[in-house]
Symmetry: C2
Subunit: 623 residues, 2 copies
């Protein structure tokens, strides 16, 4: 006896040649997200806004009714579909136009426009021609350049040392590279069109680097790698503890990250053909521990009550001081932090989600290794951090694992039995976070888990539960019950993957942390969940969640799913827009400073909320 398994197809997405395996019937939008491409969804995936157009180049991906409503016949014939409506029913090659990509230059331009900002990075270039020194005009080199630029300069020693030669090698013509009043370089000829920057999203698990054209805002290349600190420990706390045990581990971890960032820089240079001496500015966003380790600042105090960060304001240094190989004078901006574990990635996410504008009432939920929640309401910004992450990343789940090949990432129920999807073309080995949420939500719907989180015995199962599903409930001699999701295959290969009672308990703890945290922020702000215009899910995990299921188990608030939007890698986006706009950088500093850090662990009310939040929601919302 084993679960029915829908056919699985391979979908390949352009740009980037990203390839994923998905169950038949998976919406294109979801498949794209699995491939790391987050698409626009202003209407919340209802097929009404038409902003998620893609083109199916090869394969079968039938147009839905909404597709036919919103698209012309000619468009349909050319393979255009709404990604939120069309479903994958074949191996497909799908092209995502730039304007459909959420996480793209286009989006950056939109974000900039929204805030009435133009692309104006801190680094700028200006071509100048100076009068030649002559009898009666023996101005010093620096003043001569200042007059031509019509601004005063601070010239670092390394540039001053080359100044006489730089000015004379091209007869007092050339391009000044400026960072405020700081002269980073003076280049021969007019190079004012050549200016690049790199934005890094330094996650605990993944590092993403994006090469941006600082003139146009265009993304020239993207590169990603695993954070090499994973070898020390998957979660932040184990990395902090290892530094407490062995102080030299800090420098080792700093060097390993710096080496990995240099690998990414190498890759970005190779992909784009850009020269590293034309990369004049970098921005980096990560959580507090990642940022501090990257800077070489001990995170030990983050590991002890009351969880003090070393800095709040953004750190500006030379990238070369951190060992990064770009222009030797290129400044590196490390994001400001809000407090405790709420670091630069959250600030970057707030900026990317435009929460700092205060125009809409928004909640940002980033479920990564830690769970961060930010509430923007009534002109205020409030943020909290909870220890939600490990369960969703597989930790403490009996057969838990990361979202890697072999992980059950999706569970659904049909009339007869359950269906599931495994990442990669392989048999199931375990359960990742989204599979865990799906499983729990479906069992709640079937009435096989009660609101206290107890898995019912087979004899207690409601009559409406199909027999095949009921048979998956396994009662042990000690009265414990678990639920078998997969069996060994016919040849006896693969493993049985079960959802255990204790997994449900871990899920309740993790979910309750986020849910209680969200409630605490609303209470602090004297706001109600009904007022909220938008709930934004960010982070690697957030992008793969089934919104309805996450809401069913109470991880997400009980609001219309149309109000729940994925915003992709918000930290990366934030790093990019702040790199492109000096005004946004100032706003990021102000935003970090004015965001109220709500310290949950010290608040007895949080304990009450947490206890209450352990109970799953009784009923499911319709929409």
């Amino acid at each position: 006896m084993h679960a029915s398994k829908k056919p699985e197809y391979r979908a390949v997405f352009q740009p980037g040649n990203r390839s994923v395996f998905v169950l038949a019937g998976t919406p294109v939008f979801e498949a794209a997200a699995r491939g790391g491409l987050v698409l626009n969804n202003p209407c919340g995936g209802n097929g009404t806004c038409g902003k998620c157009r893609v083109r199916v180049v090869e394969g079968n991906c039938p147009p839905s009714r909404s597709c036919r409503d919103k698209l012309s016949d000619s468009e349909i014939d050319h393979g255009i579909r709404l990604a939120c409506q069309a479903r994958i029913e074949d191996d497909c090659l799908i092209e995502v136009p730039e304007e459909t990509l959420f996480d793209s230059s286009a989006r950056i331009l939109v974000a900039a426009e929204d805030q009435q900002l133009t692309i104006q990075p801190c680094v700028r270039k200006q071509y100048v021609e100076m009068p030649l020194p002559a009898a009666g005009d023996n101005l010093d080199d620096c003043t001569r350049l200042e007059r031509a630029l019509d601004q005063s300069l601070k010239t670092p020693l390394s540039v001053l040392r080359r100044m006489p030669e730089l000015l004379r090698q091209n007869r007092f013509k050339g391009t000044a590279v400026l960072y405020g009043h700081r002269l980073l370089d003076f280049e021969t000829d007019d190079t004012s069109e050549t200016a690049y920057g790199i934005a890094f999203d330094l996650g605990s698990t993944t590092i993403v680097g994006t090469l941006l054209n600082l003139r146009t805002g265009r993304e020239e290349a993207i590169a990603a790698a695993m954070n090499p600190q994973i070898s020390v420990g998957g979660d932040l706390v184990s990395r902090i503890l290892s530094i407490n045990d062995r102080p030299e581990a800090l420098e080792e971890m700093r060097l390993s990250v710096s080496a990995e960032l240099n690998n990414l820089i190498d890759s970005l240079m190779e992909q784009s053909g850009v020269e590293r001496r034309n990369v004049y500015e970098l921005a980096l966003a990560g959580n507090s521990a990642m940022q501090q380790i990257f800077c070489g600042v001990s995170p030990a105090a983050l590991g002890e009550i009351p969880f003090s960060a070393a800095f709040q304001k953004g750190v500006i240094c030379r990238a070369s001081e951190c060992g990064l190989r770009t222009h030797p004078e290129a400044p590196l901006y490390v994001f400001p932090q809000i407090g405790g574990f709420i670091g630069g990635d959250t600030v970057a996410g707030v900026m990317a989600a435009l929460m700092h504008t205060g125009r809409r009432k928004q909640i940002l939920i980033d479920i990564g290794t830690n769970g961060e929640i930010v509430l923007a309401v009534n002109g205020r910004l409030l943020a909290a951090s909870t220890a939600a992450g490990p369960a969703f990343e597989g930790a403490r789940i009996v057969q838990g694992m990361r979202a890697a090949p072999g992980a059950i990432e999706k569970v659904t129920v049909n009339e007869e039995d359950i269906e599931y999807n495994v990442i990669g073309d392989t048999s199931a080995r375990g359960l990742c976070g989204t599979g865990l949420i799906d499983g729990a939500a479906e069992l709640l719907r079937l009435g096989l888990i009660d609101s206290t989180g107890r898995l019912l015995k087979p004899c207690e199962a409601p009559d409406s539960v199909p027999a095949k599903i009921r048979e998956r409930l396994i009662e042990h001699a000690d009265e414990h019950v678990d639920f078998r999701i997969t069996d060994k295959d016919d040849t006896g290969n693969g493993s049985e993957v079960h959802l255990y009672q204790q997994d449900i308990r871990e899920l309740q703890l993790a979910t309750a942390a986020i849910r209680a945290g969200t409630r605490m922020l609303l209470k602090q702000a004297e706001a109600k969940i009904e007022e909220i215009d938008e709930i934004m899910l960010a982070g690697a995990f957030g992008n793969f969640i089934r919104r309805r299921n996450a809401r069913r188990i109470g991880l997400l608030p009980q609001v219309d799913t149309r109000k729940i939007n994925f915003i992709g890698n918000a930290a990366s986006m934030g790093a990019k827009i702040v790199l492109l706009s000096s005004e946004l950088r100032q706003l990021a500093e102000k935003t970090a400073a004015r965001t109220e850090h709500i310290e949950l662990s010290s608040d007895p009310e949080f304990q009450n909320e947490f206890a209450e939040a352990m109970i799953f929601p009784e009923e499911e919302l319709r929409t």
Copy 2:
């Protein structure tokens, strides 16, 4: 036949144990100057102000009438004398009180008081106690410190890296070391009384370093060394040319100077017992070429018309960037420059002489390797540089030499013959700058040189010239004449030292450059020499000149000698006061920017003035 030689005595001065050999009858003031100690002389050495008191501890140094007028009997009994009046008639040990030293902390305090400035260096220390992090107060470390200091901070990466440890090692108490908003360090306990700085005078020939207590302004130690670049070439032009020939010479010269400065730092630390990590700030003044080479900036453009310097504004970098071993974050201030060869040493001299205040009409003349002249009049500051130096340093003088042992440094005339003084306890080997001036001035007075600079033949000598002196005129077969100053001694040792006709010509050229430069500045400013309140002689050479003789040959303007004052090592003094006062540093920047650089070589009028100035003044002023 040889010149009579007065007895010679050894005078030892305290502080510093400086020992010199001088002719009997030499004023104490002059002997002290020979030993490198410049004393106060506000009255110009007339014995009227009583500001040059010294104490003769051992030896005979009879009080003059002025001494008896200005000092009490008890003071006289205790060996107190006026240095400008009392003369050395024995081997002596003389103590110079701090208030008598021109070049001293006392003088700095006076200078500061004059300008209504208190000692307030850029670097300051502040002891703070912060609330400990606790539940409900998990402020980040940087903000916690900012609040305690009540100012915002810029924290360099190297300090940020140690921040969590620095704050916690003494339970959030300690002393912040601040440079404006920059946090240089955070020290355990209250160290606010411990703050030192070093002022460097980087001369082409000599380097002087002074360790200053930044709290009290006190000089804790002084150290001096030869500029090791002398091995490349004594004058600036030869050093610049060697860099033009071989670009790597720049880095070699930079490193050799940096190594020598480190030797001086070592010596200052050893003398004072101060630790190098407590030296938080440095200031350095030198001429444009020396400053640029020290910074590692090629001075090539200074060696070519129109003599462009690389920078005018002062350079601020970390001393460690220049290889200096003090506190690793200690800022180093390299003086602003006026233009061309007129560099930081001139700006420092202007500051030391209070010329920037515009209160008096002043001329500063610094006769070093180059000759720099600055005029302060009618609210303006004008500066010019002339190629005066080489002759005064012995270059191109047949038997010329530096002021080193064996150099005739003084020539006088008595009723019968000439007298002379040789540096060190040795026989004469040659003629240094002061001896050259003295010789020419005395021969002008005797009528043995006419105003065109021609040495008369013995037969042309006026009758009034004593026979022994007349016999020193030697007429050669080709009608050239020279003047024998010294003979071999009785045993046939030592050398004959002559003053040659061509030496007089070189002296005329050097003198005319300074004289014409001074006139050009006065003309530019529409001022007359009679209006000038004070002429200040600075630099190593200026301090040993006999004012009356320098005026006789026209090197100094025709003004009352009481208006001519020595101001010692003005560059060193300027570096010290600017290190002690951030306000004075700002004034130094403004002063450099507003000083008008009068470019002489390109001005045809200068050529006329120069030609006229070749003629020696006809008559001598009385006073």
